[in-house]
C-alpha cells in the first residue's frame, strides 16, 4: 500500500518527461495566441467580441490544465512549499523544549516525504479552478496593470507577484486573515465598552490617562512603551515563568465598589458562545498534535464565521466611511451646495483666526482635559437621560434662529458664445437655395459627414438647439448672424467663395449664427471613477 504513491509519482515523472517538449511547444503556441488576441483587443477597446471571449476562455482552460501538469512534473515547487511551511512552523517551536521537538521530528521525517507529496497533489487539485480564473483574468486585461509606488527596488519575482491578480492568493490571504482578526474585533469591543461606560472603572482610567496626556503630550509616546512592557511582555513572561501565586476559588463576591455602582450603565452587550476562548497548552499539543483545529483555521467553525462576518461589516463600514468622506470632499468642500459650503468655510476661517489669536492665553491642558471629562460624563447613559429635556429645547431654539444667514450669492456668471451654422442646399437653379439644416458642423466638402454622403447632425428649427451641457442661453440675447464671413472662414481654414453673409461651395452654402450662453458655476468636482460611467 505504501509503495503505490511512489509508483504513481514515477509514472507521472515518466509521462511528464515524455510530453515535456509537447507541453512546452503548446505553451509557446498559446502565449503567442494570447499576444495576438491581446493585440486584437487593443485595437477595439470598447468590448471583446464574443468569439474572442469564447476563444479566450477555452485557451485559458487549456493553459491552466497545462500549468497543473507542469506543477506536478516540476520538482522545484514542492520543495519551496515545504520550505515555507516548515519555516513558519519553526517559529512556534520552543527553544526550551528541545527534547519534544526532537522526538516529534524523529517521527515526522519518516513519512514527511509522502505527506508533502499528498499535500501538493491536493493543492494542485484544489487550485485548478483558481488557475483557470487567473488565466481568464489575464486574458481579459491584456495590458500591463498600473503599478504602485514601492519603498525599495523590487526583484523580478516580487514584481511578477505583485502584478498578477490571483484568486488563490486573495482567498488564501482572506483565509489566513480571518482567524487573526478576532483580536482586532475584541479590541473594538473593548473600545466600545469604554466609550459607553459599560466598563466604568475602565472608562475612568481612560479619562485619567487622557488627562495625563493632555498635561504632558510626551506621555503619548511613553505610554505605549509602558503598555508593551507591562501589558504584553510581562504577561508573556508570567506565562513562561509563573509567579506561583495560588488563587483561591471564591464562591460569591461580597461587597461592591462605590464607583461601579454610581457609574454603572449595564454590562457589555456583546454575546460570546460559551467556551469560545481557546486555551493553548503544550499538553494539548503533544497529546494530539495532528488534531485539525490547530492546523486548519476553517475548522473553528463558529469563530471563523463570526470573524468573517465582522470583516464583512468592517468593509461595509469602510465603504460607508469613504462615502461620507467623499461627500465631504466633493460636496461640502467642493461647493456643491454653495450656501452651506460658504457658511462652513467662513466658520473654519473664523475658528482658525480665533484659536490662533486666543490660543496663547489659554491653558490648553486644563481646557482639553475638562472637555474630555465633560463630554464623557455627558455621554453617560444616566446623565443623558437627565439632560434629555434640556437638549430638545435647545434644538428647537437653534432651528428657529437658523433661517436667514445673510449670504449674498451674486457672482457674475461666466459668459461664452456658441455658434451654429444655418445650411442651405442648392436648388435646381444656381440662384435657388433651399433651407437644409441648422447644424454645429460647417458641412464643407471636406466634412466627414459630407464625404460619407450623410446629412450632418442638426435640427430644422432654431428653437430646438440646446446650449452646451451645464450652460443656459442668455435670454436677453438672440441668435445673431455673423456678417464678417471672411474672418470666421479664414479662422477655420475654409477657402470658398462668399456671398454676403454666406460661405458658398458647389452645392451648399451656410451662414454662422452666434448666441451668448451663461453659466453661474462650473460643475462641482467628482471622483475620477464617476466620469467613466
Amino acid at each position: 500500500m505504501s509503495d503505490s504513491p511512489r509508483k504513481r509519482d514515477m509514472m507521472k515523472t515518466y509521462f511528464s518527461q515524455k510530453y515535456d517538449k509537447v507541453l512546452d511547444s503548446l505553451l509557446v503556441a498559446d502565449t503567442t495566441a494570447a499576444l495576438a488576441c491581446a493585440a486584437g483587443v487593443n485595437s477595439h477597446p470598447k468590448k471583446i467580441p464574443n468569439m474572442e471571449v469564447v476563444q479566450g476562455i477555452a485557451s485559458s482552460l487549456f493553459n491552466a490544465s497545462i500549468e497543473r501538469l507542469k506543477v506536478e512534473k516540476d520538482g522545484s515547487l514542492p520543495s519551496s512549499i515545504a520550505d515555507t511551511t516548515e519555516s513558519s512552523d519553526d517559529f512556534w517551536k520552543d527553544e526550551n523544549f528541545r527534547q519534544e521537538i526532537d522526538a516529534e521530528s524523529h517521527i515526522t521525517t519518516m513519512d514527511s516525504v509522502e505527506k508533502t507529496a499528498v499535500k501538493i497533489e491536493n493543492k494542485t487539485r484544489e487550485h485548478f479552478v483558481d488557475l483557470f480564473v487567473e488565466k481568464l483574468i489575464t486574458k481579459m486585461i491584456p495590458d500591463r496593470l498600473p503599478e504602485r509606488e514601492h519603498f525599495g527596488e523590487l526583484s523580478e519575482e516580487e514584481k511578477r507577484k505583485s502584478q498578477t491578480v490571483s484568486a488563490t492568493v486573495l482567498t488564501k490571504n482572506l483565509k489566513k486573515l480571518t482567524p487573526k482578526m478576532g483580536e482586532v474585533f475584541e479590541f473594538q469591543d473593548s473600545v466600545v465598552r469604554l466609550l459607553t461606560w459599560r466598563n466604568s472603572s475602565g472608562t475612568v482610567t481612560m479619562l485619567i490617562l487622557c488627562t495625563m496626556i493632555c498635561y504632558n503630550p510626551m506621555n503619548l509616546i511613553t505610554m505605549p512603551l509602558l503598555y508593551i512592557a507591562f501589558g504584553l511582555m510581562v504577561p508573556g513572561y508570567m506565562q513562561r515563568h509563573p509567579l506561583r501565586r495560588t488563587l483561591y476559588p471564591v464562591r460569591k463576591v461580597y461587597g461592591r465598589s462605590l464607583l461601579k455602582d454610581i457609574t454603572d450603565s449595564g454590562t457589555g452587550r456583546a454575546w460570546h458562545p460559551p467556551g469560545a476562548i481557546q486555551e493553548y497548552s503544550y499538553g494539548a499539543q503533544t497529546n494530539d498534535s495532528d488534531s485539525p483545529s490547530l492546523e486548519d483555521p476553517l475548522s473553528n467553525g463558529v469563530e471563523f464565521v463570526a470573524n468573517l462576518r465582522d470583516i464583512q461589516s468592517a468593509t461595509t463600514a469602510t465603504v460607508a466611511f469613504s462615502e461620507s468622506l467623499e461627500k465631504f470632499v466633493y460636496g461640502t468642500a467642493g461647493f456643491k451646495n454653495e450656501r452651506y459650503s460658504t457658511v462652513v468655510f467662513l466658520k473654519y476661517i473664523f475658528w482658525f483666526c480665533f484659536l490662533g489669536i486666543v490660543s496663547k492665553f489659554i491653558n490648553w491642558s486644563l481646557v482639553l482635559s475638562f472637555w474630555i471629562w465633560y463630554s464623557m460624563i455627558k455621554s453617560h447613559p444616566k446623565v443623558k437621560k437627565m439632560l434629555g429635556p434640556f437638549k430638545q429645547n435647545a434644538k428647537q431654539e437653534v432651528a428657529k434662529t437658523k433661517k436667514s444667514d445673510g449670504l449674498v450669492l451674486d457672482e457674475p456668471p461666466e459668459a461664452k458664445f456658441v455658434e451654429v451654422y444655418e445650411i442651405y442646399q442648392q436648388g435646381i437653379t444656381p440662384r435657388h437655395w433651399e433651407f437644409y439644416k441648422y447644424s454645429n458642423q460647417v458641412f464643407d466638402p471636406l466634412d466627414k459627414y459630407r464625404k460619407l454622403q450623410q446629412p450632418p447632425p442638426g435640427v430644422f428649427c432654431l428653437d430646438e438647439i440646446h446650449p452646451p451641457k451645464t450652460w443656459t442661453f442668455d435670454e436677453n440675447s438672440k441668435w445673431e448672424v455673423d456678417y464678417n464671413v471672411e474672418k470666421w472662414a479664414t479662422e477655420r481654414g475654409l477657402k470658398y467663395s462668399m456671398d454676403e453673409e454666406f460661405l458658398v461651395d458647389d452645392s451648399f452654402k451656410r451662414r454662422r449664427l452666434a448666441r451668448r450662453v451663461l453659466r453661474y458655476a462650473s460643475p462641482a468636482p467628482k471622483p475620477s471613477y464617476k466620469y467613466k460611467k
Partner: protein
C-alpha cells in the same frame, strides 16, 4: 516504514500531573461550635482584608480599580505640596493651589466613602445571602494567609537579614546619609509620594516580574552583591589581593593533625616515611590524631588540603570555569570560616615550602556535585535545575617535625 512511525507515535505515553486540590472532607462536623461561631463573626473582616490585599497585589477582577485608587491617593498626597508654600505667599494663593486643595479633599473623601460603601455592602450582602459554610470561611482564611505569606516572601526574599543587631546597625549607618541627602534634595511631598507609589506597586505582578527580569542583568546582581556584602561577612572574603598558594595556606591552616611517631614510623625518613604513612592512613579515611601541637618533636604534622573547583553552566558555552564576579571563584579553599580563592591544584603543587612533603601521590578528585544558581546542592547529575557545580580535590601533606 510508515507503519512503524505510526506505532511509535501511538505508544508515546505521557505521565499525568498530580493535582492536590481534590475533594476534602468537610469541616462542618469536626469543628467545635464556638470556633465556628467565632470564625463566622470574623468572616466579614476576612473578606474586607482579603479585598484590601487584592488591591495591594493588583489581582482583583477589575484591574482598573487599584489604579484609580492609586491616582486618588496621589491627589491626596499632593495636598502636601501646599505645605511647601511659604507663609508669605499664602496671601496670593493662586487658583491652581485651590484646585489642588479641592481635588485632594475630594479624592480623600471619595476614597473614604468608597471604603465605607464597600464595608457596608459586604455586611449587607452577607446579611441578605445565605450564610457561608465553614469551608468558605476557611478558604478565605487560607487565601489571606497565603497572600500575606507571598507578600512576606516578596519583601524579605533577598533582603538583608536584620535579625542580628550588627546588621541592623549597619543598615542604619548606610541609610542615614542617604536619607539625610534625600531630605535635603527632595520635598516631603515627593518623598512621601514615591514611597507610597513603591509600596502600593511593589506587590503587583508587574513590579515583581520587572524585578525578576532586571535580576537577569549581571550588572544589577553585581550592584546588589556589592551592597549586601557590606552586611554579609562571608562573601567579602572570596577574593583576597593574591591567590592563596601552598605557603600561605599552610600558615593560615588551623586544621593540622599531629600524628605520633609510633614504632612503625620510627627511623623512617623521606619517601619511605611517605609510603608507610600512606599504608597506615589510607586517603579514604580521616586521619585520627591530635589537633593541638603536643610540643614534642616526635610528631608528624599532616594537613589535608581540600580545594574546590567551581564551574558555572552558561547557555551557549555549557560548563566553563567562567564564574560571576561576585560568587565563588574558579578554585577556592576553606581556611577557618572563610572561603578564599586559591591557585589551581597543579600550581599549588609547585610551591610547597621546605620541610613539607606530599603524602598522597596525586590530587584525588571527588566527582562533580551539582547545585543551583545559589549554590544549593541539587544532586550528582546535571539537570535543568543545576547552574553550578563543584568538584573537590583532596591531597594531604606532611611534615616531619623532628627534622
Amino acid at each position: 516504514m510508515k507503519n512503524k512511525g505510526d506505532k511509535e507515535k501511538a505508544y508515546r505515553c505521557h505521565a499525568k500531573f498530580i493535582y492536590n486540590h481534590g475533594q476534602k472532607p468537610t469541616l462542618t462536623f469536626v469543628t467545635p461550635g464556638n470556633v465556628s461561631s467565632v470564625l463566622y463573626r470574623f468572616y466579614p473582616l476576612l473578606i474586607i482584608f482579603d479585598g484590601a490585599l487584592n488591591n495591594i497585589m493588583w489581582i482583583c477582577d477589575d484591574i482598573c480599580q487599584p489604579f484609580i485608587h492609586l491616582v486618588m491617593i496621589y491627589l491626596v498626597i499632593n495636598l502636601l505640596s501646599l505645605l511647601d508654600l511659604d507663609n508669605g505667599s499664602l496671601n496670593k494663593l493662586r487658583i491652581g493651589s485651590i484646585f489642588t486643595l479641592w481635588l485632594g479633599i475630594m479624592s480623600g473623601l471619595s476614597l473614604f466613602y468608597a471604603f465605607a460603601y464597600y464595608v457596608l455592602t459586604v455586611y449587607q450582602d452577607l446579611r441578605d445571602s445565605e450564610p457561608p459554610t465553614l469551608d468558605d470561611i476557611v478558604i478565605a482564611l487560607e487565601s489571606v494567609v497565603d497572600k500575606l505569606a507571598t507578600m512576606r516572601s516578596e519583601v524579605l526574599g533577598r533582603a538583608v537579614d536584620v535579625s542580628r543587631w550588627k546588621n541592623l546597625t549597619r543598615l542604619a549607618i548606610l541609610f542615614t546619609p542617604i536619607h539625610y541627602f534625600l531630605m535635603r534634595q527632595v520635598t516631603i511631598r515627593t518623598y512621601v509620594m514615591w514611597m507610597t507609589f513603591i509600596a502600593l506597586l511593589y506587590h503587583s505582578t508587574w513590579f515583581q516580574c520587572t524585578m525578576k527580569l532586571c535580576w537577569r542583568v549581571h550588572a544589577v546582581r553585581q550592584a546588589y552583591y556589592a551592597i549586601t556584602s557590606f552586611f554579609d561577612d562571608q562573601r567579602k572574603n572570596y577574593r583576597l589581593s593574591t591567590l592563596i598558594d601552598a605557603q600561605t595556606a599552610i600558615s593560615f591552616c588551623s586544621n593540622v593533625k599531629y600524628v605520633p611517631r609510633t614504632d612503625s614510623l620510627k627511623m623512617l625518613r623521606g619517601h619511605r616515611l611517605q609510603l608507610q604513612l600512606q599504608k597506615l592512613y589510607p586517603w579514604t579515611e580521616p586521619i585520627i590524631g591530635k589537633s593541638k601541637n603536643p610540643q614534642s618533636l616526635d610528631n608528624i604534622a599532616v594537613i589535608d588540603f581540600t580545594i574546590q573547583e567551581n564551574q558555572r553552566k552558561w547557555r551557549d558555552e555549557g560548563w566553563t570555569s567562567r564564574m560571576l564576579s561576585y560568587e565563588k571563584p574558579h578554585f577556592c579553599m576553606r581556611i577557618g570560616d572563610q572561603v578564599v580563592a586559591c591557585k589551581s591544584p597543579w600550581e599549588f603543587q609547585e610551591g610547597l615550602p621546605a620541610g613539607w612533603e606530599w603524602l598522597d601521590d596525586c590530587w584525588r578528585p571527588i566527582g562533580w556535585v551539582y547545585s543551583d544558581s545559589n549554590w544549593v546542592v541539587t544532586g550528582e547529575r546535571d539537570s535543568l535545575e543545576s547552574f553550578t557545580r563543584t568538584k573537590t580535590w583532596k591531597r594531604r601533606i606532611f611534615k616531619d617535625q623532628s627534622s
